[in-house]
Amino acid sequence: MRREIPLLITGFVGAVYIVSFFIPALGFVETVTTDWILIIQAFAIWLGALNLLKINLLKLSTGKKDRVYAAVVIVSFLVMAGAGFAPLLRDGRDYQAAGSSFAWLFDAFYVPLNATMFALLAFFVASASYRAFRARNKEATLLLLAAFFVMLGRVPLGDLLTAALPDGWRMSSWADVIMNYPQLAGQRAIMIGIALGIVSTSLRLVLGIERSHIGGE
């Protein structure tokens, strides 16, 4: 029973969902299930949050050197959650209102942390290009050449180097052609492959052949 019912649920829900796509009267299935998933996620995040708090409380109690960081995690979490739930006290819903402490925390902490972490990519694209773009073999050479021409074609230098060629035949045009033809073709093969992979995986799930998400055989 512990395994059969979940398998039945997956199969039934998946099958109904697929069928509803072809039957106009079942159009509501999509909206309702989308909402339900959002609701399940909203319940489940309590499990995650409690897990985060538990792990950091444990770290705090072990008395190791970096327990201070565990304390920081807990305090940050509670401060943010506290600020966000404050409207409950006055029966409001505008938790992100301008001027609220939640909005201030978001602007002062969340935005710069997020933007800076994202910006680290500027460094990592540089170091990854240095290591990866070497003409080790035929494949790597193609990778290198495509990247090289597209990169050069996107800064004025590329056109400058090929200034002798007529307008429309300079390096920025090479870059465009690489993007518009071979790049597009490769992308298409990948996307079609993915679609078939997903169709097959979905089918395995609906048929109950793939069941490791509920704990395997």
Partner: protein, 242 residues
Amino acid sequence: MPQLSFADYAAIQVGALLTFGIVSFLYKDNPFYKLCESIFVGLSAGYWFVVLFWENLVPKLYDNLKHALAEPTTATGSLSIEWLYLFALLLGILMLLRLVPKLGWLSRWPLSFVVGATAGLYFITYLQSNALRQLQATLVPILNFTDMASGKGPTSTLNAFFKQYLGNAVILVGTVSGLFYFYFSKEHKGWFGRSARVGIYFLMITFGASFGYTVMSRMSLLIGRIDFLISDWWPALMGGWM
């Protein structure tokens, strides 16, 4: 520089400190980074905890059930569709039973629901938007003789030249050989292997090109942070607050 309020001033200073803290990771792991990391994890977990409550639970569950209680039946006398959300409530509660060791297995029900719905949704959407749309886009004549005969289509630029002559053939060969590479049930030997090889070459050009294409926009993200430090933070540091 106009004088800032204390709240704005403090936000800028905090932002700058956090920026430096995260960037310091590039040199090596250090307590300053660890501090920023811990703040980030705690704060953002709290943020999403709150957002999911206000954006999912309240409008989707609470409001719908409230509506069902207020208007239990529709004008035609049948039960309101909002009553269906009782099932969502049930599934949510089953999820939380994970916290009760003896009843934890019941949380597989909502999980199976999510997995089933996802499988169904992806089956359809990917068949549609990835497979069929992409195949359809590949349906173009290798050479458009009609256009060529009528003298249409300028070939004065490289792009136009490809559009007119080579482009469609490249796309066709690339797409089909790429699919050869993904073929699982045949060993990549002989002519089949050679086709798959061509497919790999196309994939490599694809990866190189899209990598190179992205470099510039990644640089602009960092420019944004540097600009924040130079145009916002430094003047604020010098200017103080009201």
